[in-house]
């Protein structure tokens, strides 16, 4: 237990809900991005998976929409402490996108329009754990939340769910991304409170 601050009682909200340590519930949807919001025209949008051998698999916006979609309803947890429960999305599972990709890579470096990157083990993108989503709460995904399409990996802190996603580089060796290079945890499991390096 931490040092007690005298007279602090806290305002415990819904005690029926189990949140990861250090998180609090929010009803709205905060926006956190290191730079300006990106606006990517749909006709220029492209999603490219590049294997460790340099083979490219790419999808246009029309290609993406033509793939079977799923509608995950998931809880999301931001490293800045807010958690939002039961968020509703629509998009394409990474299982679908990686189905015909021949790879023995262990790691993925996710790339976004605007230059943002984030890394994660490839296993965390598979088995129904990750999607490229283009709709949120029944509407097209707004640009400030990563539209036209973002990655959604709800079991990791939300900085891993790259906004304005444009591709994934598959790698044999782990390579830290933008926040990971700036001191954030390499993996980012909210339930183990892996916020920063060394957690």
């Amino acid at each position: 237990m931490g040092i007690v601050s005298p007279g602090f009682h806290g305002r415990r909200r819904d005690t029926a809900v189990k949140l990861p340590p250090g998180q609090y519930l929010t009803e709205d949807f905060p926006v956190l991005t290191a730079g300006p919001t990106q606006h990517v025209p749909l006709e220029k949008w492209e999603f490219v998976i590049t294997t460790e051998l340099g083979q490219k698999h790419s999808w246009s916006w029309q290609d993406l929409l033509a793939l079977p979609s799923e509608t995950p309803t998931v809880d999301i947890h931001c490293v800045t402490k807010w958690s939002k429960l039961g968020t509703e999305w629509q998009g394409v599972s990474l299982d679908t996108l990686l189905e015909d990709v021949d790879t023995a890579a262990d790691y993925a470096l996710v790339q976004a329009y605007g230059g943002y990157t984030t890394n994660l083990p490839l296993d965390d993108l598979l088995d129904g754990q990750a999607w490229i989503v283009y709709r949120y709460d029944g509407d097209d995904l707004r640009a400030e939340h990563g539209g036209p399409a973002r990655l959604l990996v709800p079991h990791l802190y939300f900085w891993k769910s790259a906004k304005w996603v444009r591709g994934i580089q598959l790698l044999d060796q782990d390579e830290p991304g933008f926040w990971e290079t700036a001191g954030y945890h390499d993996y980012g499991d909210p339930w183990r409170e892996q916020r920063y390096q060394g957690d």
């Binding site: 415990r12 709205d28 905060p30 919001t37 001191g183 060394g198």
Partner: protein
């Protein structure tokens, strides 16, 4: 992109309140003594953890308001209506009381006086001034000559921060206030939100290639960043920090 300004394990440290002062009716600056504080850069923030007697604890992030000064650090905390943490920090905490602090965090939204000769544009909405004030103070402490312009949007004159300090002239620092609700007497710009004209008139021309730091509520930051891009600024030189109404 900025390389690590944070490295190694971040430990929780006990911080004791030394003093506090009112900045405006809804915000106070808190000065803490944190033995072993490793120092920080202007623009970085800390995590603050509060623990109740029964073990319940909660955390929030706050920007550092001043450059590193030994074991002392300053946070400016705005009261959030119905907040869980900010009212305790601003009203419930007495000198000598402990909280836990971890940091510094964030190596991207930072400005170092020696970094670059580029002019700096600081655009703040409300309490978004806090990390930008740390940059202004860092510039002054380093006697840096980097030209800096601050544009601060507040509701009324009573909602300004660091008023006396910013009123004192500092060579090379220009301060412009924009009022969204009510203007002081003699102020010609009508009350209203940030516009293209405000940033065009009071910022730097895009061809000066300034480093732009924008901090404030989400809508404000979205607007400011989009105007800067429309005015021709390079998106890579625009760094932003947004906070939502749920911040505590």
């Amino acid at each position: 992109m900025a390389r690590a300004a944070v490295s190694g394990r971040l430990t929780w440290r006990v911080a004791r309140l030394v003093s506090s002062r009112e900045e405006n009716p809804s915000a106070r600056t808190l000065v803490f003594d944190v033995p072993g504080w490793p120092g920080h850069l202007a623009g970085q923030h800390v995590d603050v953890r509060l623990t109740a007697e029964d073990g319940y604890s909660t955390q929030r992030s706050y920007s550092l308001a001043a450059p590193a000064d030994g074991d002392r650090l300053e946070l400016t905390v705005q009261d959030v209506a119905d907040g869980e943490v900010s009212p305790y920090l601003t009203e419930g905490l007495s000198p000598g009381d402990p909280v836990e602090i971890r940091g510094p965090v964030g190596g991207y939204f930072v400005w170092r006086p020696a970094d670059t000769a580029a002019p700096v544009l600081l655009v703040a909405g409300g309490s978004g001034i806090v990390p930008l004030m740390a940059m202004i103070r860092a510039r002054r402490e380093a006697s840096a000559r980097t030209p800096m312009r601050l544009i601060h949007s507040v509701r009324t004159a009573d909602d300004r921060y660091y008023t006396d300090e910013l009123r004192r002239p500092q060579p090379g620092l220009d301060v412009t206030y924009l009022y969204t609700r009510r203007t002081p007497e003699g102020f010609s710009r009508p009350p209203g939100r940030l516009t293209v004209a405000d940033l065009n008139t009071n910022g730097w021309p895009a061809d000066f290639a300034p480093d732009c730091f924008v901090c404030g509520p989400t809508g404000f930051v979205e607007t400011a960043a989009e105007i800067l891009i429309a005015l021709g600024h390079d998106a890579r030189r625009i760094k932003t920090e947004r906070f939502g109404p749920s911040g505590g």
